[in-house]
């Protein structure tokens, strides 16, 4: 079994990332009003939606895939739940099940094409994005459905002193634990690492790589669907654009969190860490006098620097 090499490396290899994260954290600390319990918990609350997607994305990436359809899947799931609630008179449970079913199905279709047809993951999930966006528009009939508060309790928050503990944070916590245990402590997870690291070697060693890869896409689809429910819980509305661009946020979170786009390396918790870090940088820009015009640029720079530092740190590995 080819477990990724260098999994227990020296701390040295992590040093650049640690320094960089430290620098960001220092900036956060120096930003007036950031390090208050209220604001930090607010950042975690906001990050939880992307965090859930990033968990799904990291599972796919570790398995050697790539999922560009998460944002669209999020939108479709939110739309299906919204139509169920508004037009069909469903209860929240039925709507949630339907939404998760849709997301899982999109993931399975992606998985079938990537794992069995052996279509390129990038192209498959890119075309799936268009298909799913088109479906979302049809499901909604071009409308925007607003005022849907059925899932509001999921985002309800409890104030503990200045801190705000919300349902979204709890859900992210549960997803993180399930994802981490699934990837680290089960045979399934270990086989997925092996598949992503070297599919051919894994297959020769008796790992059923196709099935695993399909399952990894299904997990990502489910995560996106859960994201759709969390979206409804936070914003009470769904339209044909809901979730646009979230696939890139989740991929960025994974990259920043040290999940390899080549497969086989990284961890679910890393992805969540990356997501929190990016959210913190965004919040930092909003909190300072730095004009909003620089926000997009800064985000891009942060991701690029992280990717570069990670690549430099890994360079020694191959020698």
């Amino acid at each position: 079994m080819e477990r990724p090499k260098g999994w227990h490396p020296g701390l040295l290899r992590w040093l650049p990332v640690v320094l960089l994260a430290g620098a960001v954290m220092w900036g956060v600390w120096r930003t007036p009003g950031f390090l208050t319990a209220r604001h930090v918990s607010g950042v975690v609350h906001l990050a939880s939606l992307v965090g859930v997607l990033a968990v799904g994305q990291s599972v796919v990436l570790i398995g050697g895939g790539f999922d560009l359809s998460q944002g669209a899947t999020l939108g479709l799931s939110a739309a299906v739940a919204a139509v169920g609630l508004r037009d069909l008179g469903w209860g929240p449970v039925a709507a949630a099940v339907a939404a998760l079913g849709c997301g899982g199905l999109v993931g399975v279709v992606n998985g079938v094409f990537v794992a069995y047809v052996r279509a390129n993951a990038f192209v498959t999930t890119l075309s799936m994005t268009l298909i799913v966006r088109g479906l979302t528009f049809l499901v909604l009939g071009g409308r925007e459905l607003g005022g849907l508060r059925a899932f509001e309790p999921l985002a309800a928050s409890l104030r503990v002193g200045e801190m705000r503990l919300s349902g979204l944070m709890a859900i992210l916590g549960v997803v993180a634990i399930v994802g981490w245990v699934g990837m680290r402590c089960t045979v399934w997870g270990q086989h997925l690492y092996a598949t992503g690291g070297n599919a051919e070697a894994a297959r020769l060693a008796g790992v059923r790589t196709e099935r695993l890869r399909l399952a990894s896409f299904a997990v990502s689809g489910l995560a996106a669907a859960l994201g759709g429910l969390l979206w409804l819980a936070s914003f009470y509305t769904a339209n044909a654009r809901t979730g646009e661009g979230y696939e890139l946020l989740s991929i960025a979170a994974c990259v920043v969190g040290g999940v390899s786009l080549q497969g086989g390396r990284g961890s679910v918790l890393g992805a969540i860490g990356g997501c929190l870090l990016l959210q913190a940088v965004g919040a930092m820009i909003n909190l300072t006098e730095l004009p909003g015009e620089y926000a997009t640029l800064t985000n891009g720079l942060v991701i690029l620097v992280f990717a570069a530092v990670d690549a430099l740190a890994r360079r020694g590995e191959r020698r």
Binding site: G33, F34, T36, R38, H39, G42, V43, L46, L49, L68, L126, T129, L130, R133, F137, G141, G142, R143, E144, G146, G147, W231, S234, F235, Y236, T237, N239, A240, R241, E247, L248, Q279, G282, A283, N286, L287, G292, E293, A295, T296
Partner: protein
Amino acid sequence: MRNERTGRTGLGAGMIVAVVAMVVAGCGGPDANPGAAGDSATERAIRIGAVLPTFGHPFFAAQKRGMETAARELGVDLEVRDGKDDDRIQLEQVEALLSRGVAALVFCPRNQDAAVRAVEVANQERVPVVALNRRVNGGEVVAYVGADDREAGRAQAKALLEAVGPEGGKVLYLLGTQGSSPQVERMAGFREVIEGCPEITIVDARFADFRADQAKAVMMAWVQRYAPGEIRAIVAQNDEMALSAAEVARDEGWSEVVVIGCDGTEGAFAAVRSGLLRATVLQDAADQGAKALRVAVDTVKGNPPTGDVLTPLPVIDQANVDQYRPSY
């Protein structure tokens, strides 16, 4: 990256379709089309083409519905095309509709400058063009139908002045997608009015992409930076952002803050009723679409409009919310 790729694929495929269509339909020259229409049982229906910026946004979906309803009432054939938020695709759709022999074109450009070429192409074919919702900076259109975004910005400013009164105060401003035409125009209109009012100061303006999630992130930083009661009003360039910001403000105990949106969505109407929003500016998309179609049909029948058709932009507040219906 993603959009650009899809755009290219779509462009390539569309180009082939357009070329084939031109070869097939264009062989007999432009005169072939009226003749063909005449053959089919005494020119049964006028065919109108329409190109919208995107079907993906509910505003344009409502415009489409308005046009389709009007087309049924007038008994004309209507073909509406999706510009997929891409200037080049819009041009291609216009060319495809022209080669299909439409008698007039309703055109809602994605970008006022990039749309010039499409209008010129239609001008060469002598097909009248009605500009819907956004003006075109060139070519010849028979009329402009809609209410421009600059006017919407002015309307927001007036609603703000009315809400805060002579003592004025500090205002936070939520902007849409950086550089998009509604962002630029609504801001220009808003600033134009506010500049003459020293009692109002815009203390911060942030881009939030016209999106609820980004508005929420910005607003969470704002509640950290400013004390409750310090900010007199929040103005957002659309309702989606306004509603999201208003929720955060309410949760954080900014009970006195005035929130003003724009567009007049269903959600905003409900929020105006409940008091969460002070006001919104209604842009009735379906009505605009229907009016544009009527102008196009009238032009084809030989009664071109005498000037632009400006649709009203009423400010919706608690006093008049029940007299209007939401845009989408």
